[in-house]
């Protein structure tokens, strides 16, 4: 008997007044009873539009059916056939524009909480089931993966399952990429990311940290070392600045630096952790994506009283997930919409404020979004001591500068054949943000998976 309630079973959350004082996870997850109740909202449609919305094609109705029947372990096993990182995807995917965006129940009422159920199954399995991975018979072929973010981890996991000897080369001291340095603890607990990575290691994948491909070793040298194919999943980590006056004042951060200090280096625990971070009473975060929301909510937790999101378009155009915008507002983040910074002001080298100008929406631009136009004479000064710039990232130029024969776009992204993720260089594949520019975790995973399949076909020709 399906549950015909129009609304999702609500997920318990930390109270917004308490959670802005800590870095613990905001969304607490379903209980077993809540999960079963939500699973019963799924109509088990034959044409499964939800699966088409999932970049890695998780068999959604199948696993939800098992949850509804109380078979939580079975549900997890169905998910991991297609998705190696379910505890992560269930938490950070923009489900509203993917699986849940296609759910039939969403036509009248709220869609089934697919992300929440995926998360539940993964958390249940980690907590209750001893995970022993079967040894896979090795096929003697070696593949190198550059970057231990979502794309690289997925590609490596898929290849290991097929018997390849896979080594991931990671520049930082910890694997995980944006899952470790970018997305904050309160959205994605790091202990959980570590466990998911541990599962990939158990498949036989080796991870070499502190190796920066392009400097420590080049792509060509990887082939000399005996790797037969290379997958590049090095992401889009190079921060953009605006080129306005005052950007180098003390107190101005790129969001990447701010989040890396807090997440990867645990600066929020200073001085127990020796990496420092500085946050003023008043903080402006420039941008409207998930990175901007993460930086704003982190600043609040580090003790800032007033945190502003300064975004040049209106809320409707914000690229951040609805849930994150909602959480940010609940936590008291103030939205300065249709506002653009003009210059950053300082005194004795430190930020004291930011001059902004109001914008209005004009004609649609090339991207189809209405172009923001400054309103003459509307300049005003926002008094802040910290400015965090979150207007996007591009791929790091190091690999393209040190790899001959690798074609890239003018903005730095690696050019690939869409069906196979093959680059212009033989036996070199690429996927994730290094190909698309900053996108989502799940799209990066989808690309890693597609490349693994293509590498397998190529090496078995």
């Amino acid at each position: 008997m399906p549950n015909m309630s129009l609304k999702k079973v609500p997920m318990p959350e930390q109270d917004s007044k308490i959670r802005t004082k800590n870095f613990s996870e905001v969304a607490l997850g379903y209980t077993e009873e809540q999960a079963v109740e939500e699973a019963l909202r799924c109509l088990q449609c034959k044409h499964k539009p939800c699966v088409k919305g999932c970049p890695v094609n998780v068999p959604i109705p199948e696993f939800i059916k098992e949850i509804a029947a109380g078979e939580f372990k079975k549900a997890y096993e169905i998910i991991v056939r297609e998705n190696r990182l379910p505890a992560i995807c269930g938490r950070v995917c923009p489900q509203e524009s993917q699986c849940e965006g296609n759910c039939v129940r969403g036509i009248k009422g709220e869609p089934v909480g697919i992300g929440r159920l995926e998360r539940f199954a993964a958390d249940y399995y980690m907590k209750n089931v001893k995970n022993d991975v079967k040894e896979v018979e090795k096929n003697g072929k070696r593949v190198a993966v550059v970057g231990a973010g979502p794309a690289g981890l997925t590609c490596a996991g898929e290849l290991a399952k097929m018997g390849y000897e896979v080594t991931i080369f990671e520049a930082l001291h910890t694997p995980g990429g944006v899952l470790m340095y970018g997305i904050p603890e309160f959205r994605l607990p790091k202990a959980l990311v570590e466990r998911e990575i541990e599962n990939i290691r158990k498949l036989g994948v080796k991870i070499e940290t502190n190796v920066l491909v392009g400097r420590s070793i080049t792509i060509d040298e990887l082939f000399e070392e005996g790797y037969q194919a290379v997958f590049i999943g090095s992401g889009a980590g190079l921060p953009k600045f605006m080129g306005i006056e005052g950007e180098n004042l003390n107190g101005v951060y790129a969001a990447n630096e701010f989040l890396t200090r807090s997440n990867l280096m645990k600066a929020y625990d200073f001085p127990n952790s020796p990496t420092p971070i500085k946050v003023g009473k008043n903080v402006a975060v420039i941008g409207g994506g998930n990175v901007a929301m993460d930086a704003a909510r982190t600043a609040k937790r580090l003790g800032a009283e007033n945190v502003y999101i300064v975004y040049r378009r209106s809320e409707e155009e914000m690229p951040a997930r609805l849930e994150e915008i909602h959480h940010a507002k609940e936590e008291g983040i103030q939205m300065k919409l249709l506002t653009n910074p003009v210059r950053i002001l300082g005194k004795e080298g430190w930020v004291t404020g930011m001059e902004c100008i109001e914008m209005e929406l004009g004609e649609p631009d090339a991207s189809g979004r209405r172009r923001p136009v400054p309103k003459a004479g509307s300049e005003f000064i926002l008094p802040v001591e910290t400015v965090i710039i979150a207007i996007g990232q591009t791929p790091n130029p190091l690999i393209r500068q040190t790899t001959e024969g690798l074609d890239t776009h003018s903005w730095g992204g690696i050019i690939v054949k869409e069906e196979t993720m093959e680059t212009s260089k033989e036996n070199v594949y690429a996927g994730g943000d290094v190909v698309t520019g900053a996108a989502t975790v799940i799209l990066a995973m989808g690309a890693g998976k597609k490349a693994a399949k293509a590498i397998h076909e190529r090496l078995n020709k």
Binding site: A171, L172, H173, T209, N210, V211, L212, R215, S216, I217, G237, L238, P239, F241, G243, E247, N248, N250, Y253, A254, N256, E257, T260, R261, M265, K266, F270, P271, N272, S273, P274, T275, P276, K278, G349, Q393, N396, P397, L398
Partner: protein, 273 residues
């Protein structure tokens, strides 16, 4: 984990370590640096590669004990391991086959200067160096420089060795005596590099400096190490650390380097108390 093969005390606050690091030793070039983390909960700190041995698969670092992490590092001994060492990072120095080059090393800055001067001498360039320090104990690597340089000049604040005064006094004297240099390579505290550049600009001598801004990842992903060179933003970790000293905004560098002054203090006290 990376093993420390040997350790040497160079003076009261400066120490040398040779560390096993195969990936770095295989490809590193003069001018490049590493980022290291002493232990599991440590911060990431940049240190220039002072020497390397491709066969032994080792790199040598020379560091001054100035804060929490360098103090922790100094408590390690040969045979111990350090948690992480990533590299080689940064662009190798662009060393040209000049006739005569002058190296200037202030304090522990002599360490990153050494591989550049050594390489130049191997390329057949005539090299002189000026080494500076507070007292004679703070002048490091003098013997190693003597092996490869034609002239080694010393300057100490208290006159305990060589000229009494600053490296810039010696620089001015050499130029005024008619010594001709095609390039000056200056590495040391920002105030020293700034002062050197003020003099060489006047005499139109191209000058390369090695900047040491605050860094986190050292791979170009955070922009914490950004500096203004010739009016443009550069990331010292990927575009440098060597830059044309006559184009560097030193005032800005010095200001940005002081950003966490108070926090560094807290950390140091935490360690001692």
């Amino acid at each position: 984990m990376y093993r420390i093969l040997s350790k040497k005390i160079l003076n009261e606050t400066v120490q040398l370590m040779e560390i096993e690091a195969p990936y770095i030793a295989r490809r590193c070039e003069p001018g490049q640096f590493v980022i290291l983390r002493v232990d599991e909960n440590g911060e990431r700190i940049p240190l220039t590669i002072a020497d390397y041995d491709r066969e032994r698969k080792t790199v040598t670092i020379i560091y001054q004990i100035v804060g929490y992490s360098t103090k922790k590092l100094s408590q390690k001994e040969a045979g111990d391991t350090i948690q992480d060492i990533a590299g080689p990072l940064g662009k190798p120095s662009e060393l040209k086959k000049h006739k005569r080059v002058l190296g200037i090393g202030g304090g522990v800055g002599a360490a990153p200067l050494y591989p550049q001067i050594k390489k130049l001498s191997e390329m057949g360039v005539n090299v002189d160096v000026i080494l500076g320090g507070r007292t004679k104990e703070y002048v490091i690597l003098e013997d190693k420089f003597r092996e490869i340089c034609q002239n080694v000049y010393i300057a100490t604040d208290d006159g305990s060795r060589g000229h009494r005064g600053l490296v810039t006094d010696v620089l001015t004297k050499l130029i005024e005596e008619g010594k001709e240099y095609d390039e000056v390579i200056a590495i040391g505290p920002l105030v020293m590099m700034k002062a050197v550049c003020a003099i060489t600009r006047e005499y139109h001598i191209p000058t390369s400096v090695s900047l040491n801004p605050i860094m986190i990842d050292g791979t170009g992903m955070c922009g914490g190490c950004r500096v203004t060179v010739g009016g443009k933003i550069k990331f010292a970790c990927v575009d440098g650390p060597d830059f044309d000293g006559h184009l560097v905004d030193f005032e800005e560098c010095m200001r940005r380097q002081r950003m966490y002054k108070e926090e560094e203090h807290v950390c140091l006290i935490g360690l001692e108390g």
